[in-house]
């Protein structure tokens, strides 16, 4: 072990004798020497203190007074990691949902295009031969005897002046 300086030896002896009543020179040394100051704290802390009598009700109120002054403790880093993980997960779900939504909306567009010809068929009259009441359809539907009667009537009309 290293040898202590005379000032430290003197201080330790004074601390052992009475840690609360140090001679001025020793007190000045202890205020500058961390090791001696710590020796004083350690020695004094180990001494049993006589029971003290505070004002009535002091100990009943003290815990609540202390609790009111407690600072909020910063969360441990493990929780910060979990929060970061949750945020990343949320971001991934959000981005995935966005692209999925886009994909779905394109499919819906294709489906709506497929219905367009039907709409046109009902609204645009560009297929006159499909009409049930046009002249050709009516001719095709005539029975042979009705067709013969029609031809006869037409011949009769042509033969008239």
């Amino acid at each position: 072990m290293t040898d202590l300086k005379p000032a430290c030896l003197e201080a330790l002896a004074a601390i052992e004798a009475d840690p609360l009543d140090l001679p001025p020179a020793v007190a000045a040394h202890v205020s500058r020497c961390t090791a001696c100051a710590e020796a004083r704290v350690a020695w004094l802390a180990m001494e049993d203190a006589p029971p003290a009598q505070p004002p009535a009700g002091y100990f009943d109120q003290l815990p609540a007074r202390i609790l009111r002054k407690l600072p909020a403790r910063p969360r441990p880093q493990g929780h910060a990691y979990l929060w970061a993980l949750a945020a990343a997960l949320l971001l991934a779900v959000g981005i995935g949902g966005f692209y999925l939504g886009r994909a779905n909306s394109q499919q819906m567009e294709e489906a709506s295009l497929a219905t367009a010809p039907l709409e046109r068929a009902t609204t645009l009259p560009e297929t006159p031969f499909l009409e049930n009441d046009d002249t050709m359809t009516r001719l095709h539907k005539l029975k042979p005897e009705e067709a013969k009667a029609l031809i006869d009537r037409l011949d009769a009309k042509e033969s008239k002046p």
Binding site: M1, T2, D3, L4, K5, C8, L12, E16, L20, S31, R32, T34, A35, C36, A37, E38, A39, R40, V41, A42, W43, L44, A45, M46, E47, D48, A49, P50, P51, A52, P54, P55, Y58, F59, L62, P63, A64, R65, I66, L67, K69, L70, P71, R73
Partner: protein, 195 residues
């Protein structure tokens, strides 16, 4: 070594549970610790300051400091020893501050640092708490056997001098001498480590 029976309210299993819970931020558990140890803390502060108002200031300051420092408490000593050591340091700091404010504004003696240039008390105390724990871990194995034994029974088990004397089969005066020499040797090791 025959160990005396301990039925102290300071070493029940519930203390460790409350400490662990308070370390995780459970304020209700910390309130239980305050309830259990408030008389010791107040008694120690009062024995140094001899004044209720000052002792009350130190008690509150100590418990707030302990709450902030709890996550770093690793059980190198008993919780009560740790708490009382912090109380003692706070009370001595308070005493020093009070004396300083009563001093006149004489010029600072040569070679002595002005009070305004010193590290703030709380910062210094926090550093000392950490430093003391580190030094204790490093220096304890180098102490003579009887000194180490007496010191550990005091710090880890928080036994009274009488209990340690009984366990080591020596007088109370010898126990005090062993513990003081242990502190002296630790001081030497601290000085040696820094020089």
């Amino acid at each position: 070594m025959q160990l005396p029976a301990l039925d102290s309210p300071y070493h029940g299993p519930e203390i460790q549970e409350w400490v662990a819970a308070a370390q995780a931020g459970d304020q209700a558990a910390f309130a239980k610790l305050v309830e259990r140890f408030q008389r010791d803390v107040y008694g120690k502060a009062y024995s140094i300051l001899k004044n209720h108002l000052d002792a009350d200031d130190v008690v509150q300051e100590t418990f707030l400091r302990v709450y902030r420092a709890l996550p770093g408490f690793r059980g190198e000593s008993s919780f009560r020893t740790w708490l009382i050591t912090i109380t003692t340091r706070q009370a001595l700091n308070f005493l020093g501050r009070t004396r300083t404010t009563h001093e006149s504004l004489d010029p600072t003696p040569e070679g002595q640092e002005h009070i305004a240039l010193r590290v703030e008390d709380n910062q210094m105390s926090a550093l000392l708490d950490q430093e003391a724990r580190r030094l204790l871990r490093e220096a304890l194995p180098r102490l003579p056997k009887r000194q180490k034994q007496a010191l550990m029974l005091k710090m880890e088990k928080d036994w009274k001098y009488e209990q340690i004397a009984q366990a080591m089969d020596i007088s109370v005066g010898s126990v005090k001498a062993h513990i003081f020499h242990a502190i002296q040797n630790l001081t030497q090791l601290v000085k040696g480590g820094r020089s």
